[in-house]
Structures are given as C-alpha cells and as structure tokens.
Point group: C2
Chain length 521, copies 2
C-alpha cells in the first residue's frame, strides 16, 4: 500500500513544487504592504479629488497609448502598478467621488462600506448555499432584515422575523436593479404560463408587461431578456398632469384592452423616484389595479428607496404591503459602495420555483433540511461574494440616526439649490423636486422656441462640464431638454453646491451676453 | 434676480446642513483608520485561518442569536463592527481561504487583486458608458485584451488589436459565468428568431439548445431565464468512453433529428473543465458540427480557462477560433478575488444588438461617435463597478511567468496527490485528472455493491469534513459517488496536501476497521 511517505520521488517533487521559496500570492506580509500602499493612495485621492477635473478631457484610446499593450512576462513591484494608476488611470477618470459631481445619481460611499468590502474581498468566500458559507448567508439575510426594518417594510418581506421562525418572504443582494427586475420577471412569467395552462413556453406570446414611459430603460431590456414579446411590452405615456408618474386609470384601461385582446397581464413595474426626474408612481393604486388581474407588481426604488428610511419620505412606499417585490440600491444613496442592490419578495418560493438548481456537487444536508436559505436560488448565477458584510457594517457603524441625517442633509442641500433656481428669473424648475434631484433649465423667454431653449441649455451643460469644476447630466421631460442637478456625492458639502450654482449663474450670463452681442452686431 | 448670496435664510440653512461639523461618511482620516484596522484584521485572519475548522459547526440561525436582530439607532465605533465580525462571523464561516479547503473549486486570490478591488471600491465609479468613466472602460478593455493574449485567443476576439484600430470582437467583465451564458443565449436567440422570420418571439418554441449532461446546471437555468422551451433544452448523455465529454457524433445526430422535427438549432455550450470531473468537450469538433446549422457556440472555461495561459494546456482550447464566444473566471483560478468573469465574443454587435439601450439621460457625444465601447450594452444591467482594475493589477504585478508558475504548482500538487491515491490499493482515481482536480473514491472490493461504496465514501467525506482539518465535496460521475479533491487554495502548500492525504488514509483505515469489527462480532 503506497503512501506519500513511502514514495520518496513524490515527496521530493512535492517539496519542489511549493515550498517556502515558491510563489505565495497571499503572503500575509505582502498583503499588508500592498494594502497599506493602497490606503495611502486612497487617502491622497480623497484629499485631492476636489481639485481634479470631474470629467476628463481624454480621447478614446488614450489609455492604450500610455500603458503597455502587451501583458508583461515578469513580475514588477506593486508600486509600479500603483504609479501607473496614478499617472495614467486617474487623469482619465470621471470622478464620481468628486464633490463637484452632480450627474446621474451619486454613487455614495463611506469608510465603513469600503472597509466591509475589503474584508469580504480578503475572505473571498463563495456563498452559493448556506453550507458554502453559513456566516455570509446569515449576514446577508440579517442585513436585509435590518434594512427592511429601517424601511418599515411589512414583515411578510422578511426572511425571518424576530419573534417567529422562517417567514415566507425573503431577500437577496444582487448586483443591479436590472437583475432584480429580471429574476422577478422570470418568476412572474413562469407563474403566468402555469396559470394559463401553457404547454412549455408556447403561451409566452400572450403575456403582457407594463410600466410608465419614465421607467428605466433597463426594465424594457429585462423584459426582452426574459423572452417577453416586444409587441406586448407596454410603455405607458405620462405627462405633467401626474408629474410624469404612472396614471393608474390609464393602466387599468390598457390592461382591460389587453385582456379583451386575449393577452394575460403578467407584471407591472412601478418606480419610486424615476431616473429622469424622480417621479413617483402611486404604488398602492397600482397594486389595486394589478390585483384585478393577478399580475405581479414590482417596485423599483433604486435611488429613492434609501430616502424612505426617513419617516417623512416613507409615504412614497404606501401600499408596499400589497406588492410582490421591491428593490432598492444602497450603492446609490445609502453610502454602500458598488455593487449592492437589495431585492425583497413576499413569497420567496415564487422566485425559487423558477431559479432553483440542485446539482449533485452542491447537495448537502442543510439544504435538504429545508431550514436554510440557499441564495443561489434567488439570483441569475451561482457564485456570489460575501455581499452582506459591507451593508451590515454601514448600518452597524453609523446607525439609523446618521443614515437619516445623511439623507436629510442631501435633501436640504437640494432644496436650497432649488430655491436659488426659483429665485432667479432666468431659470425654471421643470418638475417638482421630490428628493435630492433638481431638474431645471434656462427658461425660454420672448421669441425663444423650445428648440432654442434646448440649444442654450445644452450649451450651458457643455460649458459647465468643460470647466472640470462641475459635472451635470441632462434628460428630456415632456419634450423639454432639462439639466439634472443631483446632490449627494459623499464628499459634498454646502460650499460645493454653492460654487456650482455660482458657476451656473456666471456661465448663463456669459451665454446670454454672447447671444445679445450676436443680435446687436 | 435672486441668488444664494442675497438669500440669507438659504445661506444660513446651507451652513447648518453640512458644515465641517456635519456627518462626513468619507472623511479621509476615518477612511484611513477603518482601513488600517481592516488590514490588521486581514493579516491576523490569514495568519490564523489554517488553524480554524474549514467547515464550521454552526446550526442554521446561529448568527441571529449572536448579533442584535434590530438595526441600531446610534452610531458605534468601527471597532465594534470588527469585533462582532471576529467573534460572531468568523466562527460561522466556511473558510474558502483556508489552505485545508479542497471543496468545489478554490476561490484563488492575491495581494494585488485585493488591493485592486480596494482602490476600485474607494473610487466607486460607475462605468456604464465610456463617458461615465473613460479610464475604467479602457482599463477593462485593456485587461481583457491582455488576458486574451495570455490565452492566445484569436485576435478576432479582441476589442482592439495592437496594430489595427477597433476590431469587431469585444470583451466584457461580468459577475458570473451564468451571466455570460445568459447574454450570449439571448443574442443567439434573437439572431435565430430573425433568421427564421419569427413574428416577435412566436418562433421561440422552435429554438433548441444543446450541452453535455456534465454542463453546469446554471447553463440549463440560463436557458430557462432566456425563455427557451424546457422541451427543447437538450442535455446530452456522456459516458466513460469519452471521459464524460460531449460526443460530437451524438450531438450531430440529435441536431439532425431536431431539424427533421422542425426545430432550429440555436446554441451549443461546450465546457472546458466541467465542474463535476473536469471533463473537456472537444471544442473544434463541436464548432464544426455547429457550423452546419449556423448555431452559436459558447465555451464555458470558467475554471480551466486559467490553465490555458500555459502552453502545455492550451490545446484544450483548440478550435476556439471557430466559436462565437468564450468565458472564463479569473476569480476561480487566476488569483483575482470575486467576482470576475471574462466574456469575449467574436462579433460584439451580435451582443449589443440584443442588449443595447439608449435612454436620453445617458446620451453623449462619445457614444454617438461610435468610437467607444459602452460596456452596459454587453451585460444584463446598467451600473457596473470599476471591474478591470484588479484583473489588470494581477497581470501587471505578477506577470505571465508567475501566473503560469501558480497554475503549474497547483497542477503538480494535484498530480502528486493523484499518484499517491493510485499507489494505494484501497482507492481508485475515477476519471483521468486533467488539471488540479482529482476525482477519487474508496474502491468497491469483494462483495461491496455500488450502494455500499457510496455509503462508505460518503462516510469518509463526512468524517473528514467533521474534523475541520479538511473540506472536500463530492459528485456523482457515471453513477459513482466520488470525492472531489480540488487543489489550489491560495495559501495552500505541499504540506497541506500531504496532511489531507494522511487524514484520508487514517480515516479510511478507521472506517474499514470498524466495518471489519462489525462483521467479526
């Protein structure tokens, strides 16, 4: 009977392979050294990012001209990589961490979140099943239940309530809202196919899905990914009469017409805080309409969901107890670095019925007991990071009061900006501000057409962005070209909002004077 | 004309909101302090993880009994969160970083990768379009092109070749192989629908997809997510005659029969290194069959793809120049912490045709020029981390030679283990070892049935895992219950493999002696 001990050749080779002199990619001293250097880099970055142009002036392909295009053969000190990041990467970055960033929605962040992600990266566990990492699974479930409590979601959405055992609801942390939409669309699709007695997916051409035209484009993409027929994906027109929110009466009308045409209303996506203008679809009224058709209702509260931890904003979720699922992204406004999208469903089995897999190599007693959550069955993939840690660390370290303070501070800054805009006759606030996004523009005056207004506002945006001192994005609402001023970048203070406003006023004055000069000469 | 300057109330409120005394979640000193503490924690963790039980002995719900179930209202020093991680989280973890971890596939990691992820978390940019972060987009493209060169992928897969301008191919970093499968399945589905003249998705019930029965279960799930009819998702039987690889002749036969039945062969997934036993489907022969039907061929090389950076393993990808897409996950075997799955496609437009979105608020001149890559159009979601940085840092810091050394060292250790198993008459190696996974079992002897063999091997696995000194997973290959011994955890050295083998021998002896005692008494 052989063994390594009695096989000298093998033993010798073993020693050759990976002795103390071999390559040790996780040598603890190297890890500490590389990380300390990275921490110094980050410290310097945060100290200097305010002075960097928010939007870089680089041309496509710039990085390949600065870095070698062929992978190196030999190893190099970590300092070389860091130096190249400093010299080549940083100058080509759009600095989302800059306090002068007002575009899109801010990617808020915090010391606790970064630390949590760092520890998770180092532990580098893969928690597809409970057994594959009990702590990571339970931490994720706990973090989701904590956040559900902060949001005062009904206990039906929680994985375990404090008092009772396992509930029927459940949550999972995903990478993006799009994935939350996709997995719930698939669950709703499969349930509707079963209900309608479809043989296989034959009935898929009869299923219809609904959302306001202000819903994020990724929803319409997710519908196509899940195989819904493009002809049955309804984008329902909105207008200023509802501040661009979905009108439940219109929804009902369209759903009834679809039923008359032989279609099966399957899924409605309601948005709390649209990307374009922060419109809020009326959740409760939409749920009431959906109930008439047994259609799944999902709430996309990616951005504004975070605000709902404050009692004064919670009313935007009124009716959530009657929906099937809700997702929101702490990586947007709850100071948790990317990526972190929380999805809760009222009945976890409706998700797992569509998403469960059970290959032999993942079978284990814990899963078979039915007493544990295997998070792979609530997402697209199998592998998953230790996703719950950073979110839990944010809540554990800052506590509800600081999180609310952070939301309120951003909203107050946006409110001040809005008031300044309103007080300047040259501008108008185009839709009411609900959270920390202000949609405004230079007001068309006199003979100025909508086209002229678009031109002058686009010019304003481009000039602002070229200064490097502010970065704003735009949208089109009700046919109007509008500037979006999103407050909340985590290094932002009142002085940055004030400076941006001064820059906006000054640049507008310049544009108007130039226009007047053209007219006069 | 109002302004903040002339609105004292507003100014006063501004100062109140977020002055220097306010909550600063990204205060650079706090960031440095939290991260230094985290680095110390990680250092201690790596120094001690070897002595911790690989698989914890906790019961479902254990964490909730140790941590508070209600989110805190007030803030707490970061030390509190770290202490709770140390005291409550670590004891409930399955330690994937342990050198005694031999289950599943290892999640390999390195100092450079963790540092890269840390810097990315702190920069916290969202690179959905080129403009949203030119550096992040170009770094990702560069990292993918570097890795494609290490793998000697044909230049058609590269986003930009060194000599020429933009190619037709392209790559993207995703979170999981499942997402790579899903997005390519959707692209193939839409192309097949167009080719077959389907009105909307009506033709979806005629589309058929193919893979060996050894293909990861997530492929079959991805097919269902994309709306393929379960009746047309073919899992093709494999056997010992091909070492459990897909037989192209059998594939051809089934595809021909499907065409006869009016179906449209749409997509074939070939695996290089199956999860169960590391079988390698013959890529070139499969591509030849697929070409007869204009079907999309995807290679899933999640684990074994990393080995193909060594010339001696590259032959497993022979024929890759004739496939449509290939994915592999550096988070498995290329020392890049989760998550990091690289997908390359030969014709990027085939992906973007299905995945592109163009909402107003993301429109920008760079995208409209057609000269840049907008990575959101090659994935499910919109938001995305600075994904390329850590992968680039790994290649930049270690270089091709060290990466190859790392692969070879793991393979050599697995080979030594395999030889030890072969030299012990009580055991058998069930399928040939291709990479660093050894599939073995206690050999059924004498009157031992297959059922008895399963029982004794399961007993062996459970006893090993209960010791906390090793963690092995199992699979079933050809009806045989098999232990999977996966070498390669990044802290692993020869002595850990040797100890595990000693433990396996000792435990087997105990089991066999107990069985003999039962028979004798």
């Amino acid at each position: 009977m052989g063994s390594l001990d009695t096989t000298p050749t093998a033993t010798a080779t073993f020693a050759d392979i990976n002795g103390s002199g071999g390559f040790q990619p996780l040598n603890a001293d190297d890890v500490r050294s590389y990380l300390h250097k990275s921490v110094d880099f980050i410290y310097d970055y945060y100290k200097s990012v305010e002075s960097l142009p928010v939007l870089p002036g680089v041309e496509p392909g710039y990085l390949r001209r600065l870095l070698q295009s062929v992978p190196p053969t030999s190893s190099a000190p970590f300092d070389i990589a860091l130096k190249e990041v400093r010299d080549a990467v940083v100058p080509g970055m759009t600095h989302w961490a800059s306090p002068n960033f007002f575009a899109f929605f801010p990617a808020t962040n915090s010391a606790a979140a970064i630390a949590g992600e760092l520890v998770a990266s180092a532990m580098n566990t893969v928690g597809f099943t409970w057994q594959a990492n009990p702590a990571a699974t339970e931490m994720e479930v706990l973090a989701l239940d904590w956040l559900a409590q902060l949001l005062r979601l009904p206990s039906t959405f929680m994985n375990r309530t404090a008092a009772a055992g396992r509930g029927s609801g459940g949550g999972v942390i995903l990478g993006t809202t799009s994935e939350a939409m996709l997995v719930t669309l698939v669950a709703a699709r499969d349930a509707a196919l079963r209900r309608s007695g479809s043989v296989g997916v034959a009935g898929i051409t009869s299923l219809a899905v609904y959302a306001a035209d202000q819903t994020h484009s990724t929803f319409f993409k997710a519908c196509r990914l899940a195989g819904f027929d493009p002809a049955n994906i309804r984008s329902i027109a909105t207008g200023p009469e509802t501040d661009y929110a979905l009108d439940p009466a219109k929804l009902l009308e369209i759903m009834l017409a679809d039923v008359d045409a032989g279609l099966v209303p399957t899924y409605i996506c309601a948005t709390v805080g649209t990307t374009s203008s922060n419109a809020v679809d009326p959740v409760g009224a939409i749920a009431d309409v959906a109930a008439m058709f047994d259609a799944w209702v999902h709430i996309d509260a990616a951005y504004a969901g975070s605000a709902c931890i404050c009692p004064e904003f919670r009313h935007h979720l009124a009716g959530v107890e009657r929906v099937d699922s809700i997702s929101m992204s702490p990586h947007k406004w709850l100071m948790t670095c990317l990526d972190c999208t929380c999805l809760w469903v009222r009945d976890a089995h409706r998700l797992t019925d569509s998403l469960e897999t059970n290959p032999e190599y993942l079978k284990n007693d814990a899963s078979e007991s039915g007493n544990v959550t295997d998070l792979k069955d609530m997402q697209v993939g199998v592998g998953r990071r230790f996703r719950g840690l950073k979110l839990w660390m944010v809540m554990r370290t800052y506590g509800a009061a600081k999180l609310q303070e952070h939301i309120r501070s951003d909203v107050a800054m946006a409110k001040m900006f809005e008031e300044a805009v309103r007080a300047d006759d040259r501008f108008e606030v185009v839709v009411p501000r609900n959270f920390a996004l202000v949609c405004f523009r230079i007001r068309p005056e006199g003979a100025m057409t909508e086209e002229d207004a678009e031109e002058v506002n686009r010019e304003l945006m481009e000039r602002l962005n070229r200064t490097g001192k502010a970065y704003l994005a735009h949208t089109v609402v009700g046919g109007k070209f509008v500037l979006r001023f999103a407050v909340g970048s985590s290094l932002q203070e009142e002085r940055h909002v004030r400076s941006a406003w001064e820059l906006i006023k000054k640049t507008t004055t310049e544009i108007m004077e130039e226009a007047r000069d053209v007219v006069e000469n």
